[in-house]
Symmetry: C2
Subunit: 270 residues, 2 copies
């Protein structure tokens, strides 16, 4: 067992460590400059502590310390800084209505390179300009549960914002994700690796998902909530696929569409 | 073409009609007592006006009136009260960051009776204690798109709250939904009608959705986000079904699980 790096107690709400946590929580620029992000909740902090070098600091309120017996057990395994805080400070730090009083600052993992993530029989999801943090988080959670090999994002909302993290329920630590600067280049890279791209579209001209199922060696492309995929992308994908709709709704929520397409892709053995 | 019932202009922010709208927006009790709810946005108001006797009042800001040429066309078809408001009043009424300046007060439709909704070869979704408005709205939108025959809710969050309405994207007007006071009674009623109930559970003992597909004459039961279905319900369902998971996530978001199960049910012809 590795020792705790340092154990401190903070009682002042103006303490710079607390101020730093709140800046990381609220400001994308600080998160990106420092390559750090914050998480909140007993379960997700426990989750995070299973990954080496992910967690930098753990904050626990007095009440949480009493309530969750053995809370130290999970922190002891990693050399993290354990910080005891008052309940009042917990209220300043929380992003929820009823805080559990457990928080952490984590390091953004080093991104994997695209070649590391690709294999010719892999199954991938590509997200273009997904803007709603709840949607992005839900998609990552779904990809984790269903076992997608990797997710690529281009022009999406920030993956390490508190709203996305919360919606992932810890999947953000598990699903391999790469942010790509250029969607068209990614399309080319996928093709060179023998991976076929399926553009999810609403057009009646597209094939129904019942007839045209992505499977091994495929990437499903999902577009923005309001506008779908850019034409420059969908025009260059090998296939156009639509989820057949019988009712009056004109479209599914982007996360739901991603989930159903992913479910079909994962179940296709071809 | 029916005439507009009445056309008025409101410039004072303390006007009782505006105050009433805001109460309906913010207070569940007022919505339930008066059997009214509010909607916001050009598209959903247009949608609502296609249904007879649904819309009571339409509010349009000066800017919206100029921007959306022909905005009257859609209001003219129904005898609604058309109310012109200033942009400042629109800012008071909105529930979004950037309002389109179009609002309406709608009447809660008379609920259909259960026998009206049931047929022995129908396909149904039952929601028990879904508490997140975004989830409930997304599920209703998905059921509309995929063509579920009816949705039953028991102990869920309020269907006519602005957050649910927004997430449905208009599907709230289209999907037949019945609120049931007692889940066990509903289970019995379904059984008496020859409809088999499938409890969505996480247990490994349940059959995988790949082996056990709900189809015609089936109802899929989805439980609460944190706790799943009450045992009193799942123990009495004919089948237990789980969505097979390969990754590290312990569960899917409740709306996503509902969507994937519904997708499979709608595609099953048996």
């Amino acid at each position: 067992m590795k020792p705790i790096q340092k154990e401190i107690t903070i009682t002042g709400k103006d303490n710079p460590v607390v101020r730093h946590y709140r800046k990381l929580r609220d400001q994308k620029k600080i998160r990106q400059d420092e390559k750090l992000f914050v998480i909140e909740g007993l379960r997700i902090v426990r989750d995070a502590l299973q990954y080496p070098y992910l967690v930098k600091q753990v904050f626990v309120t007095e009440t949480a310390w009493v309530r969750h017996a053995g809370i130290m057990d999970f922190a002891l395994r990693e050399p993290v800084q354990m910080i005891h805080i008052t309940d009042n400070i917990g209220e300043l730090m929380t992003d929820t209505e009823h805080t559990q009083g457990v928080f952490a600052v984590c390091r953004v993992p080093e991104p994997k390179s695209v070649p590391e993530l690709l294999s010719p029989d892999g199954k991938y999801l590509v997200l273009c300009q997904i803007q709603d943090p709840g949607n992005l988080g839900m998609i990552l959670r779904t990809c984790d549960a269903l076992g997608v090999d990797a997710v690529f994002t281009t022009g999406c909302c920030e993956r390490y914002s508190p709203k996305v993290i919360r919606a992932t329920m810890g999947s953000v630590f598990r699903v391999p994700v790469a942010d790509m600067p250029n969607a068209l280049n990614l399309l080319t890279t996928l093709r060179e690796c023998g991976i076929r791209s399926y553009a999810a579209v609403l057009s009646d001209k597209a094939k129904s998902l019942k007839e045209c199922r992505p499977g091994c060696g495929c990437a499903v492309w999902i577009g923005n909530e309001g506008n779908g995929l850019p034409e420059s992308i969908s025009n260059n994908c090998e296939y156009h696929v639509r989820i057949p709709m019988q009712g009056g709704a004109e479209s599914l929520n982007a996360a739901m569409a991603a989930g159903i397409l992913t479910w079909e892709m994962m179940n296709c053995q071809e």
